[in-house]
Each structure stands twice: as structure tokens, then as C-alpha cells.
Amino acid sequence: MSDMMDDMEGGEGVVKKFMFVNRKAPHGTIYALEGLEVVLVSAAFDQDVSMVFADDGVYELIKGMNTKGIEVKDFSKTYRALDGYDIEKLYVEKASMDARGLSEADLIVDVTVLDSAEMANLMAEQDVVISY
């Protein structure tokens, strides 16, 4: 814990519900990649972590990406490694999938598909929501 947070007592041992909301397509902007970096770091803090993929964020999980032609890092395999960090709660919004003509078979990892109302309830019960 850093010096500047000294006035925050009682932080140790707290387990909060952290949700990371991914709403951006990969490659066009860095949010998907840098968002993943936060999630991996959060794993070290023993929190109750979930990831949501909605809107263009569902495109982050598409199979078969090949980034050679645009000369950027292909980070899509990292989603498969989340499991090893005990990050297992991956949620996808159904309306977002439908609007893009996608199904679970198109995705690189196993996810739980929720309708918009279920997603709303899940969000409302979080302690911290970080979105990008």
C-alpha cells in the first residue's frame, strides 16, 4: 500500500466486486488491450472480478484474428489465459451479439450470455465498475 493512501484504514482483506466493462472494438483504439492489462493486474488483489463485453466490445472475443497486416500486437490469445488468473466470470450482452450477427460459436472463450435486463441487474450489484 502506498504512502498517500495511509489515511485509508481497513483496506486489507476487503473483497469487492470489480466489473470491467469492454465496449470498444479491438485494434482501432487501445482500450481493449490496455483494459486487459488492468484486469490481469486486478487478479493479484484477490477481488471478485468480472468482465463484461457489450456493444463493439464483443468483437474483442472473435476467433481467427490475424494482425500481421496492420503490424500491431495480437493480444486476443490473452483472453484464453484469463482462466489461469482465476478470472472466469465473462459476460456478453445478447443484444450486442445479435446486432452484429454473432453467436457464442464465434468467440475465442466460453462466456455467459445475458439479456439486457440481466446485465442491468449484474451491473447494479457491483462495488466498482471500470469502463473503457
Partner: protein, 99 residues
């Protein structure tokens, strides 16, 4: 829960997504370019009016003023200043920004 939207509803999909995934009784605060959505005559007005059945809609006054939109705010929308913004954050259990 507090949902914060900062992008224009005529440019991006974030307001629409927020309204779709906001649970009943939530507060939605529009800031920055998102404040255009609560003005009369715009395409988002109907969406906002429908949403007010289930959600509390707020807009940040200083952002409305900066855009010359303060006199056009839809009935039922609550205009708050930065102090009101802080209160919304502290009085709800969690907040989410729809970037």
C-alpha cells in the same frame, strides 16, 4: 446506481446502450457533449422522455450553459451543477461511465 454518459447521442451509441442496460430506478447523468440529448426538438428527446418512466434523468448545467442549450431543456430533466454531480456519486451505491 448512477450511470454517466458524456458523448453526444447523435454521434455515438453510448446513451442508447446505457438506457438499455440501466436497471429500473437508476439515475442517468448526462455531461459534456451528452447534454444535447435532453434538448427540445432533437432526435434523442423521445428516447429520453420514454426513459423517464423508469429512470431519473439529470444533466450537468455548466455543460448546458457552455453549449448554449440551457433554455431548451426537456421538462422532467433535473439540471445539476458540479456539487449536484458529487452528490449523485455519493448518494448512489456505485457509478459507471459509458465511454
Amino acid at each position: 446506481m448512477l450511470h454517466i454518459v458524456n458523448k453526444s447521442a447523435t454521434e455515438r451509441n453510448s446513451l442508447e446502450s446505457c438506457l438499455r442496460m440501466a436497471s429500473k430506478g437508476s439515475a442517468v447523468l448526462l455531461i459534456e457533449d451528452a447534454v444535447y440529448a435532453v434538448t427540445q426538438g432533437g432526435v434523442a428527446a423521445a428516447q429520453i422522455q420514454a426513459a423517464m418512466a423508469d429512470l431519473q434523468i439529470y444533466a450537468l448545467g455548466p455543460d448546458l450553459d457552455a453549449r448554449g442549450m440551457s433554455a431548451r431543456v426537456l421538462d422532467g430533466v433535473k439540471v445539476v451543477d458540479y456539487g449536484g454531480f458529487v452528490d449523485l456519486v455519493t448518494e448512489t451505491n456505485v457509478c459507471q461511465s459509458w465511454l
